[in-house]
């Protein structure tokens, strides 16, 4: 067998198929997914703003949608995506200062993002129901 004389060890680009699951990797992917979901979700904000600015009828339509179980599910998901992405962003800012990158710290930050986003989402919704006008 003719082996190449010099085997140059070049870094391979990440390939999902050969990656072992880790919480840091999962949270990294979720940051991208939430970013994309938030991107398209801006349409909901636009719909609400346009309806509020146009007529009572339009406003009632969008309110009814948001109040339906499906609308509530979408809004709940959107709240979570926003808060997860926000905490994930803070995690990036911490990394930018060259902190939180050690083994153990990385995993802590990843779990903190996950748990924090769920807790904050529930808190926001509890406040929402408390102040419901």
């Amino acid at each position: 067998m003719a082996e190449p004389k010099v085997q140059i060890e070049r870094p391979l680009s990440p390939h999902l198929g050969i990656y072992r699951f880790s919480i840091t990797m999962a949270m990294s992917i979720v940051h991208r997914i939430t970013g994309s979901a938030l991107y398209f979700g801006t349409l909901l904000l636009v719909w609400w703003l346009l309806a509020a600015s146009s007529s009572a009828k339009q406003f009632d339509i969008v309110s009814a949608f948001f109040a339906s179980w499906f609308g509530q599910l979408v809004l709940f998901g959107y709240t979570w995506a926003l808060l997860h992405h926000m905490l994930g962003g803070i995690r990036h800012f911490i990394w930018d200062t060259a902190h939180g990158l050690e083994p153990g710290e990385r995993e802590f930050l990843a779990y903190a993002t996950l748990v924090g986003s769920v807790v904050l989402t529930l808190a926001v919704w509890m406040l929402g129901y408390m102040f419901k006008g």
Binding site: Y39, L43, L49, A56, L82, H92, G128, Y129, F131, G133
Partner: protein, 124 residues
Amino acid sequence: MKTPFARVRGLGTAHSGTEHFWMQRLTGIANLPLIIAFLVVIVSLVGSSQASVIATLSNPFVAMILLAALMSVLIHMRIGMQVIIEDYVHTELRKILLLMANTFFTLAVAIAAVYAILKINFGL
């Protein structure tokens, strides 16, 4: 190849890069307080009538915060989506079309949202 000078200015073979990274951080930092303020406004409006939504959104402070949040978020999400497209789409034509669509989508959202806020504040 790039001259060492161009390299130092952050212009590698991709011709750009650090501005993009920096803009993503800058808008990300700006998003933090603006999104929190946005959430406060939204939570305070849960279940509100159209009249009280309009009353809140035509408060000058709320309107300006909302416009600022929109500007920061829209720039942020456009360059964020640009990276995603550049990461996954490698056919030149398709990439260019998607990058165009990204810009048009962002501008459409911006124009519609700003129009609605201005109308609520000045046009009703």
